[in-house]
Subunit: 547 residues, 2 copies
Amino acid sequence: MADVKQTSTWLSLLSHRRLVGGLVLRELFDKDPHRFRRFSLEQEGILFDYSKNLITEDTVRLLLDLAREAGLEDWRARLFSGEPVNHTERRAALHMALRAPDQDWKAQGESVSEQVRTILARMERFAEEVRSGAYRGCGGESISDVVHIGIGGSDLGPRLVLEALASFADGPQVHFVSNVDGVELERALAHCDPRRTLFTIVSKSFGTLETLSNAEAARAWFLDSGAGEAEIGRHFIAITANTERAVKFGIDAEQILPMWDWVGGRYSVWSAVGLPIALACGMENFRRLLAGAAAMDAHFRDAPLETNMPVLLAMLGLWHIDFMGIGAHAVVPYTERLATLPHYLQQLEMESNGKSVDRDGNSVSYPTAPVIWGQTGTVGQHAFFQALHQGPQPVPVDFIGVASPTTRFDDHHDKLMANLFAQAEALMRGQSADEARALMARQGLKAGEIERLLPFRVFPGNRPSNVLLLDRLTPERLGALIALYEHKVFCQSVIWRLNAFDQWGVELGKQLADSLLPALREGDGLDQRDSSTRGLVEHYRAWRSQS
Amino acid sequence: MADVKQTSTWLSLLSHRRLVGGLVLRELFDKDPHRFRRFSLEQEGILFDYSKNLITEDTVRLLLDLAREAGLEDWRARLFSGEPVNHTERRAALHMALRAPDQDWKAQGESVSEQVRTILARMERFAEEVRSGAYRGCGGESISDVVHIGIGGSDLGPRLVLEALASFADGPQVHFVSNVDGVELERALAHCDPRRTLFTIVSKSFGTLETLSNAEAARAWFLDSGAGEAEIGRHFIAITANTERAVKFGIDAEQILPMWDWVGGRYSVWSAVGLPIALACGMENFRRLLAGAAAMDAHFRDAPLETNMPVLLAMLGLWHIDFMGIGAHAVVPYTERLATLPHYLQQLEMESNGKSVDRDGNSVSYPTAPVIWGQTGTVGQHAFFQALHQGPQPVPVDFIGVASPTTRFDDHHDKLMANLFAQAEALMRGQSADEARALMARQGLKAGEIERLLPFRVFPGNRPSNVLLLDRLTPERLGALIALYEHKVFCQSVIWRLNAFDQWGVELGKQLADSLLPALREGDGLDQRDSSTRGLVEHYRAWRSQS
């Protein structure tokens, strides 16, 4: 199958799309009292309601035909069996092995579960020592703060999980440092006592510019406090695949946890990269997170496509992107505890599928990963929802909510959740001219004023959204939610014929930054660059020298 | 002019776009050594480089013709003269009056500058009292913490400014609470001693659900500490247009600062809504912020379109949206101090211009406000930049950087900024097959491997970006930067024939949430709703009752 756009199912979906284009969601709901039951399912304490998309049963059937035609079931089997689905780098993508360590997983034929169990046991021992206070800093005191230094996949996962599970945290305080601008590091260190602080440095190569710059600055700060070089070993942990470089940095070999080839950065929160989660919340909660993800893995692997949550989520996304022509997708969690989720999914989806060359090296002729963006509700309602409701371009939304309150402000919670359900309803229903007139009349407006304002108070409606409702925000549910999106992304990559597990697109900028750094520092080599780069760097140098 | 798409300039731009579509940016730079000088300008310490857009001098000329044809100069004059440009609500939009209080501004003929000066003087006195410690809480101690409660425009502005100007803050610690989920309030109160905490409650109507819920919870917390009702007056400040409701809440009439009809929520940081800025950074720095914005106002008002920064920024945006067909725009600040800027601009642009009915009440036939989104660099590089470089849909980027370091980690700064310039360069240049081959050969790859990986290591380039480089991150520069975007949004609204200053699209969700709340609490009225809303609320109620 060279071009998925030439398959009969793709063509059927195109003509089906023209039919569906004339449908009106609120009429579909009026006609079919079972629409919700038809288009929703529940798994691992997550209710997935996709009934407010512009779809019929035929749409779903055709989308699943497309998935089958693209070999989704076969690709899913290859993924789980540890084949090198990341073919450009000749690697498996077996993050699922981290979540079910009691099973026997093989990456390209080689058993990996034994080493996973070993590392989990090491994490457990270490987390317990630190949390119990048995582990002492160089001043003989227990550890009060952890500074986690990493960027991208080494940062976003632990950041998301610790924000989400704040109410489970009873260990040392974790601070995150990722950017190379110094602000984050400065903020983090302001809270820390060097003798009671542990640094976890995460970089697969132990050569990531941002991470190493921050790690070196952290080490200098630590040594400035009067600690000796020999004490770095007690205060710095590395999570890396490059032991040699970490040792050279000053980290004890026993204080190094591995990263594996068969786990990509954006799928690494389940590995030793998640150490700060174990430190803050305890290993039991980390294992609950893994178990939730493993349950979603089993569902994804075993359920038929028709009732498979990741598959349905993927195919509905694809419907909007490739058939409705919508290049953006909003994620709006109705809880501040998931405030980082839009950023996490932005990386997961856009770094995995933001590609335009298929696995055979051919240019694709269809849109792939949309722009993933969003903000928490109700905050977003007071910011960009105007455009969602009345902008000319519809944007599908994933609304995410939690049924149980996560704070003691119990009365707030019903208000929060009423807003979630109401927004999804409003996007779907809209407000007709008659309804707008009636509303304004109730508000006491005069007839002339009503007609003057009418066009501005009509809402077109018919705008698609999903709702994902979690019963509680526990480690298990969070694990399942993240795994749901991971598999969604994998399913889409299969239809788009992409390798979801490489990321060549981040390389060029790195090379150019390396080659540009001497120009910023010394003005070297600027005459080789275009006039814009030259002009910018010249301004930079002039302004910086004045400061 | 009923339809801007039928004007001769719009049609000329459409055919010009076909010409430009064949151009290659790196060739344009090769051919013209003056391209940077031609397509950049500097104003108020901000260098705006727009040379890396797919434009020629003809493009700019045609875009400015379009602006003139749409009456931009006339609309600009109407804006500054205080005419009711917000015609649906019959209000002026005169936030500029707040920034140049020594001039004589008129909103719909009525002088407003006297009251602006009065309020600034009141803010100044109050800020000085609090900062000096003369103002005492009910326990007789000075104020250590401010909890600012507001949402949308009442929140995003002060939040952005205080994050950006953290190094100027030497007063009480300000905490922000906006969402109604309780997490933010819980976090903020955990830091606060009730006897030393001031609450600033911001709501134009003093009836915003989120703000009132949080204000009431804050009051209960305050009273729980043993303080009496009579002491609320010392600890709660209101910024509102509804004095009556604020007084009823328990706030002293003298502790109420006004909000004015002629200042929209998303343009209100310059008003008394900015009080926490004055409390944390001092009134002098708040006035510097105003002065920076006023300087940009003067530039926007007086400069010819050809050298007018907001006009050029606006027309380039419009070029991408309406002629290149790109519905998203990324904002990537290379400093954590501006981490909130993408959210701020998301509201500013999408709430102002996320509309599809023009000022005469006709449906528009062209795309308007794009999805505004982003993350700080270099963080974004490790997340979504893959899609920017190699995704099938180009997304224009505004890169924002500061020449002077804002932290003591001086060595970090060159690395950070080298990345900014390199990313803009990489998007523009891309990497050809020959360059990719040469690179892989240098990396020691064998011929077969080079050919295998080649398609994945090519970057198409030719992707547009702007760079805004600030000399320093001072209150003046920040004021100018925000005002730049405000006027950009206004200019686009003129071409699109939109009223940028209303926001009817936020109403429907509010109404539906109000009507849905009894259903969540008591199950009332559910049979009136569609099966999805009903199913969701039923799940919610069942799950919530188990918790």
